[in-house]
Symmetry: C2
Subunit: 418 residues, 2 copies
């Protein structure tokens, strides 16, 4: 079963927003066995919308359209679809009642354009959007499904989860799709490929291996689809085992989880607490942890000590250390991590101090130089990294390196394997 | 001048990564007057690549392709392009020397697949990729430009900035493009549209107005393109002034800056320092500030006090307050902000404490309830917000609300307008 995603609106095409919707939708579709063939972003132009829709129908069975449903003049998707499907607009009473209720709750008067939001092409199935005023519209056309929904992420996500995905599952018979991830660190993409070349060559045609390199890690992904679920699971497990055994010392994780979530899960299992002392990562690692519901059982908090003053005040780094070795040093990183364990009363702490750039580098301490320390109540280890010149990349790579150091330390202390 | 962007690779189509490249590229192209007509994401399939390339050439003059150039088996872009343009592969000696140098630096041996990276279609212009091993390839075909580059963001970005954009500017005569942003808060999209309907209707045809709603704010964008630069600037300034005067009390910013960067700039101008006390936002606001180079002149750091213990230990929130009113309360938010100003020795501090969800809500304090306080050395104000049920949305909206409270307070204290 193939699907395509079409996003409508200038925001993406002029680079004002990043299209996070499509990746999320693709992941949800994949889970139920629908493969996304193409994702297309186009602007609010009737002719282009029609062309994209026609091309998508040549390739796929399900076309999901997001965006272009706002109340303002530049949003023309609904009108274009009505014309394309040759359906006159009609006022949908249920939608109108919902829009009215929506405005009543906000204690705001409805205006002309809001009433227009309750108009729908006569012939589509109207799906109520409980998180917004623009209704979702489901069309069936020459055996293809075309769905138009708002581009606002939390409206779209709710509609996908509660309405679209269940309806697709009801409407079509799906193959079974299975992805197995193997997260590795410490070996480049081509070296990994060389080490497992014979395993890769022996894979049955219906299992695909992809290399997804990111921030010093390579995620291997085995993907299989078919009807024989048991066979697929057995085969994928067999080849996963082969790969893991071959490159064992580089394997970090075989669960399909963000790295920081795997760290949280491991610490939660052993009832360990964590705090952070972030300098150059400036809150990014804290944010990685706290984006996950339930992180508070492990993550107690921490300090973003951007200035030297705060390193002393909050973490108790000594003035002598800062004066003698500087903020980016083994000694400062070590004292930051130890200070966090002590002041924040946690089992473990990670400290990160470095020069994210683009400015602030010196010949001895260039941009991209980062010291990371991991402390427990009894031990502390620090390590230096040399990343590159791009600020955000340095922040991201520092975060990944910090997670890796913590994870390896935990696995060693707890005596667990991946 | 029209361009299209084609991204190749399964990662986006299965939802494993979000396509951040395309938005960045689109923004860069827009700056030099190139409009992006379509962004297309497809998988590593030769036939689909060729089809997408052909369709893109029907619509645009410049086709930028990212991804599919890795050394492993699943990357087939280069071979496909060589066949499509009917150019045999040749070993490019300069690229080979660069790849060799790259591996020497990493102190790693080259293997067969790495040598293959130095092969290029005979007839394209090879552009050196100093940040990676896959070269960038520039094709000219029936008057169209087709460029293939790696999908790794920091390789692609460097190539775009240093090589592709300058070459495009040299090759084509560009119209002048101008975007003017007006960031508003406090009034919904449709109400804004109603208030400025007559101004919008009076806009000359070559000026387009877009409404970009996000997180309780609406960004209005006037876009104009043409050859008469002076006329465009005069006209856009005229209509911008009209809109700003009409909805003055909702206008936050007319510069094209991320909100937090505007806050940093204002505080930097007046040599004011800032710290944060984050609970439910968990480091996200700190990360927003610290992603900007030079933020350290204003932002000193702060605390992520996820647990009640840390609220007491690091910020000095009193046990009595926490016991009597709870962590999510006006009193706690106030003491957090005051504690940050005092303990972190800054001119201003913002505190955020709330229930991000999905768990942890009660009838009195439901998920989405957030208290935000802004303190200076002499004053503190707190305000309650009720957001929704989605965790990340609550984190983002809390961050935006916190920035807004701080910005309004600063503007009032400093007596400045937008």
């Amino acid at each position: 079963m193939l699907a395509e995603i079409i996003t409508i609106g200038d925001e993406i095409l002029i680079g004002q927003i990043v299209d996070t919707n499509s990746a999320w939708m693709a992941a949800e579709l994949n889970k139920i066995g629908v493969k996304v063939k193409q994702i297309t972003s186009i602007s609010d132009e009737a002719q282009h919308i029609v062309k994209a829709l026609e091309e998508a129908q040549n390739r796929a069975d399900i076309i999901l359209i997001t965006g272009g449903l706002g109340p303002t003049k530049d949003d023309i998707t609904k009108l274009t679809l009505a014309k394309y499907f040759n359906m006159p607009l009609r006022l949908d009473e249920e939608t109108l009642a919902h829009v009215k209720e929506f405005f009543d709750k906000l204690n705001r008067p409805m205006i002309e354009v809001n009433i227009k939001q309750a108009e729908v092409p006569d012939g589509c199935t109207v799906i109520k959007n409980k998180n917004g005023t623009a209704p979702c519209m489901w069309f069936e056309h020459h055996g293809k499904i075309i769905v138009s929904m708002p581009g606002v992420p939390f409206e779209m996500k709710y509609l996908m989860e509660d309405e679209i995905i269940p309806r697709i599952k009801e409407r079509f018979e799906m193959p079974f799709i299975f992805h197995q991830n193997i997260l590795t660190a410490g070996l480049g993409e081509s070296f990994l490929a060389e080490q497992i070349a014979d395993i890769e060559n022996a894979l049955p045609a219906y299992i695909k291996l992809a290399y997804l390199p990111k921030l010093g890690q390579v995620r291997l992904r085995l993907s299989a689809s078919g009807t024989n679920e048991a066979q697929i699971l057995t085969d994928v497990a067999y080849y996963t085992k082969q790969i893991v055994e071959r490159v064992e010392k580089y394997v970090v994780l075989t669960e399909d989880l963000p790295f920081e979530k795997a760290v949280l899960n491991l610490m939660d299992k052993y009832q360990l607490t964590l705090s952070l002392a972030e300098s150059c990562t400036g809150g990014y690692v804290s944010h990685l942890f706290t984006q996950h519901p339930g992180s508070s059982s492990v993550f107690q908090g921490g300090a973003v000590t951007y200035s030297n003053d705060l390193k002393q005040l909050v973490l108790g780094v000594s003035e002598t250390t800062l004066a003698a070795y500087g903020a980016v040093s083994e000694q400062t990183a070590t004292e930051m991590a130890q200070g966090a364990v002590k002041n924040f009363r946690t089992d473990y702490a990670v400290a990160i101090t470095g020069i994210a750039g683009p400015d602030g580098g010196t010949p001895e301490k260039p941009v991209g130089m980062v010291w990371i320390a991991v402390a427990s109540k009894t031990e502390v280890k620090a390590k230096m990294f040399k990343f590159a010149s791009q600020r955000f990349q340095n922040i991201e790579r520092s975060a990944m390196a910090a997670l890796m150091m913590l994870f390896l330390q935990l696995k060693q202390d707890l005596n667990v394997k991946h």
